[in-house]
């Protein structure tokens, strides 16, 4: 097949990398932005569980006394000292992305300190303290942004995970929360995610969709009436439970209103052919990449700008994730065990595999041109875990931040925030929110911004 125009060229280029986009990008911008002509500013938060391998170090920070010892090839940290990045075996997949990433040592959420065990992943994107009298989480960083700018895209945010659902206290399967007690269930089935994103009306035309929405709104009025009358018959404790239901209905009503505003705008047409939407979770590489592809597509078509992705969740004993290392390289133990045993070879390969997948995603963003730069330049991608290498330790997380070069982030270094320079991870969150035009003063336990990263 020969390509004659830019239009076709572009489609082919995309098809080659996994998808075919039917509409040229500028067009997609018009349905997304409406009045707003500025380029989108995006944010992705992703989490891996059970920490990463960091030999010769205490709780994530290289030991000073052992300065002489060579930096380990398989350490999650790409290099030994603060300053310009160099890459070891484990982080090698990120080498081509050097100018778009930074590593941050010594950051953590105070709220997670006491959670312990494997539960601190619950608050990775929220920084909430769940150990007090109220055992509830709080709003997550993506939802803070979605509250401000979510109305500008068809979907305010996209919440993904590999296990799906919400999980429960101390064993969350999602990173996102609307607010206290309202976790957002993560989606984990590629086909379903694809349909929700790109075929929300399941083949109906705009007129039908609109009529349907109108009908649904009137039906919901009746359901609401029924629920309220039921509520009156309940005792106090039970009413609190029913409040969740009422809130759901209200929120569905709001959602209908919102969908109504968007139905006239055409959906982007993407071809699912090269996406491995039926990849099973027993096939980790295809599955994880497919999930990353979906995020990429959602961002690229500007269906949403804020995404969270729980790549792995803690307490994954009952899921296939537990066997990833087994499927990938025949490791004779479950994935969780790696974090406790930390044999160099397996830990290194495991971290390297994870790095490969994440780098794949970052590269796709970087290789997609957008105005005067690329998509990654306007997308902040956080990647980290709530444990360093030590078992059940909840401080000094492994944290990598990528992208956003055109949002004011300066990359290419490893930063250390230790001893006197120690600051909360939430400071990074504040800087990230500022970069995507969300003017917050504080987030969780933040004390300021992370000026070191801002060029």
């Amino acid at each position: 097949m020969t390509q004659k125009s830019w239009h076709l060229n572009r489609r082919e280029a995309l098809a080659g990398t996994g998808v075919a986009l039917a509409l040229p990008f500028l067009e997609s911008m018009t349905w997304a932005a409406g009045a707003e002509k500025k380029l989108p500013k995006r944010m992705v938060v992703s989490y891996f569980s059970y920490g990463a391998y960091m030999p010769n170090s205490k709780s994530g920070i290289p030991e000073r006394r052992n300065q002489k010892r060579a930096h380990h090839d398989w350490s999650w940290w790409p290099c030994k000292q603060a300053g310009p990045l160099s890459f070891n075996k484990s982080s090698a997949p990120f080498a081509p992305l050097k100018d778009s990433i930074s590593y941050l040592q010594g950051l953590d959420h105070k709220g997670g300190w006491k959670l312990g065990g494997h539960s601190s992943g619950d608050v990775f994107a929220t920084g909430a303290d769940m150990t007090g009298a109220h055992k509830t989480n709080n709003i997550s960083i993506d939802q803070v942004a979605a509250k401000v700018h979510g109305h500008k895209t068809r979907y305010p945010s996209l919440v993904l995970g590999t296990e799906g659902g919400t999980g429960s206290y101390g064993r969350c399967k999602t990173l996102s929360h609307y607010g206290p007690g309202r976790p957002i269930p993560s989606l984990n089935k590629p086909q379903e995610i694809f349909n929700r994103l790109f075929k929300p009306h399941a083949g109906r035309d705009v007129k039908q969709v609109k009529a349907g929405l109108k009908r649904k709104a009137s039906v919901l009025d009746v359901v609401m009436e029924e629920s309220k009358s039921l509520n009156l018959r309940l005792g106090r404790a039970d009413r609190a439970k029913m409040a969740e239901y009422l809130e759901s209905i209200r929120s569905v009503e709001k959602r209908i209103e919102r969908t109504g505003q968007w139905t006239d705008k055409p959906l982007p047409k993407v071809n699912a052919k090269k996406l491995k939407l039926d990849a099973s979770d027993k096939d980790p590489e295809n599955y994880i990449r497919c999930m990353y592809d979906l995020i990429y597509l959602a961002l690229q078509t500007d269906l949403t700008r804020y995404v969270t992705f729980m790549l792995e969740s803690e307490h994954s004993g009952a899921s296939e994730m537990q066997n990833y290392a087994h499927y990938l390289f025949g490791y004779k133990g479950n994935t969780h065990d790696i974090s406790h045993k930390r044999p160099a070879d397996i830990s290194g390969r495991w971290d390297n595999w994870r790095a490969k997948q994440h780098a794949y995603f970052l590269k796709r963003l970087r290789d997609t041109k957008e105005a005067d730069g690329n998509m990654l330049d306007r997308t902040l991608v956080l990647w980290g875990s709530a444990h360093p290498h030590r078992a059940h330790y909840t401080r000094n997380y492994p944290i990598q931040i990528a992208g956003g070069n055109m949002l004011g982030f300066k990359h290419g270094n490893l930063h250390q925030f230790i001893d006197k320079k120690k600051v909360p991870l939430a400071n990074l969150f504040v800087s990230m929110l500022h970069a995507v035009d969300v003017p917050v003063r504080r987030f969780a336990d933040s004390t300021g911004v992370l000026s070191e990263l801002l060029g």
């Binding site: 359901v223 239901y245 039926d278 096939d283 004779k332 065990d337 790696i338 030590r390």
Partner: protein
Amino acid sequence: MPRLTQQPANHNQEFMKSGPLNTFLPAFLIFVSAVQADGSAAGSLGFKSRILPFIKVHCFECHGPGKSKGNINLSTLNADFAADGDLKRWELILKKLQRGEMPPAGEKQPTAADRKAVVKWIDTALRRHIKSSRNKGAVPTTRRLTNFEYQNTLRDLLGIELDLAKYLPDDPAKPYRFNNTAQYLLMGREQWARYEGNAIRAMASVIVDPGKPQVYKARREWRAGGRTNNEIAVSRNRRGSPQDGLKITGWPKTGEYRIRIKASAQFPNAMTEMPLRLVMGYPLAGDIGNAPFKPVGTIRLVAGAQPRVYEFRGRIENHPVMPELKNRRGGTRTGRLRVQPANMTITPQNLFDDGTLNDGVDPNTRPKAVVEWIEFEAPVSDVWPPAHHTRILFASPLRKTQPAAYVREVLKRFLTRAFRRPVTDKEIARYEKIYTIYAADAKSMEEAMRRTLAVVLTSPNFLYHITAKDDAHRHFEIASRLSYFLWGSMPDQQLFDLAAKQRLRDPEVMKSQVQRMLKDRRASDFIRNFTSQWLSIAKVKSVPINTDLFPRFLHMIKRGERSGAEVPFRPTIRDDMFDETVAFVAALIAGNADVSNLVDSNFAMLNQRLAAHYGVDGVRGHRLRRVALKPNHRLGGLLTQGSILVGNSTGSAPHPIYRAVWLREAILGEEVKDPPADVPALSDSVGKSAEKAVTIKDLLRQHRRKASCNQCHARLDPWGIPFERYNAIGRYQPKVPRKGVRIPAFNKARHKSLTQYKAQVASLYTVKVDAAAELPHGPKVDGMTELKRHLLKNRRHDIAANVMRRLLSYGLGRDLTYRDRYDVDELLKQSKKNGYRMRDMIVLICRSGLFLGTKR
């Protein structure tokens, strides 16, 4: 504030008299620390003079202002019970003192009289407080259905079995707890939207369109000999054998299918039976092992039987469809770019497994299924429209003459069943309104009714268990609580009738109902759901087994690209182990057995594969059945079942901590805390080299040497160490290989025979396993037999209390709190009289005030 006199003889009465004072004394909340600082604090006479000194002397050293072991600091204990906050801690102190677990052995012990007096003081105050504050601290019992209940309810409400729970997010799970606990069951917009989608799917299947539908048929035949072949072996089938299955490319969107198969089997070597399973979904041949499919059914083929036709029925909606493969332009053009239409394949599988599949036995010595043909037809129905349709849109002249009245009657019937109680005219009117909205632009009554009834299925009255303040439907609430307890589904007509007659509070009626319900097929849903959560046995299916150490445990692919991987698409011995435990608990309940059987029993539920694994002779076939045990089998009870031993191992080695936690949580009913933040890792050697895996116990010994670790581990590890002679795959193994010795896989060429191989492996097992431990607050036990003996002799009551609490918690759908303490005690007292029998326990629970709602 408890006001105690100085006379021990009547301090309880004094205290009780002073009760009402509690209500207006919040201003005097006295903390012990405050008392210490200022001895003049008012009103704390009894506490200050009797209890505090006791606590100071016996507890403060470890749980005081200076040191707070286990995060328990009693210097801030609040003596004002009405303040509620500290009651959990008071209950804990009470338990520890009653059991004599505190102060720990080796510390100075209080006199028996002192201990008794303090126990009595706490007990009386607690009891009184619970009584006087019945309405405070109530936990919600209104909750949404769990996915399990939702699925079953739809089945019974609609009369067809649709897999709809798979579209819902998983319910939150916590090991050893039940997912029907109200607090955990959240609802949100996304969840609601899933219910809505499911409701629409369900109604699309239940209500059919007028007129006869198009019928789809397919058939394939196989012949013996020549180029084709009609036999299915366990593995390695010839090309063109029925293993490829019947591919169908046309089927209705919804409806019941019928699959017929004509089959028999060949049995060499005096074998007598084999299971043949049909599955439908993606084609299974040649795939790497993750093609989605769903079983259609399994038949048992027996020796000597003539070829026979077997018939299966199911819902077409439940089976995964392999989607159409389109060419580049998205068309379906055939020709050079061949296009695969959407399809499903019906595959027969030979599931024969006598536990020797890895032993290099000649495949020709195993049974082969012979399939002559397979036929598919859908939709089928004995009558049209089908019963599930006419149950809702019943045939009546009203429909034509008075459509409005007909709609009202349809709604009334459906709502009554969906809401599980009588409905009011007002409620019906609401749905009539909804019907009118949909009818405005619906093409038929069927279409409008589908949409309307879908709304019913998203109503809180359907999705929630409701405990209303008013007494309007109390008896229907009982009927529902009972049926969701014992069936995990909605009540049947008989229960509805009894509720209408208000008979369910009659103890005799309740007893006969419980017995009837437990005999029903639906009770097995309850037992499976309850057992798997209570004992946390799902893990057995996901622990990665170290196939270097245990080369014969799982059925492995022998040759080719995927050699070394587990043979896919077959139920494995791990599934049997899970089922074994469920069947065991089911047998105890059905037989109304003593709870002691959980620890040790004279029977096990086994099939041939399990029996071969455990080393029990004389069990033939795949069906789990009751097998009498002998002491040399070293089985009996739950503790030695594969589901528990494998699930709580690392897959390479037994894990004493996992097993200890399991024993304490699931059997003894104690709550074991999660490991605290930042404990140093137990550098288990399994990861690096599987061969060294046998040393976890030694590692633990070193771990315990650290004082900070010993605190928790001294109470934990000893419970797991007596399990050590049962290896990671749940087999009795008194000797293990030396460190670093590798167990070879069975290789037919090298080992000649299995006997020879076994002998070689046995010769590698040279190190005796040490399984001796000194139990906390208990004796020294060596191995499983002594552990069981100790549990039966000294902990039978605790085990019964645990089972009672678990059943009650599951039945009520909430965690039990200190408030339920005395109700549980009462139930246990009654249960003890007839020897802690399991079915009677369920009867007692169903008759209790807690369950019937006469007491909250």
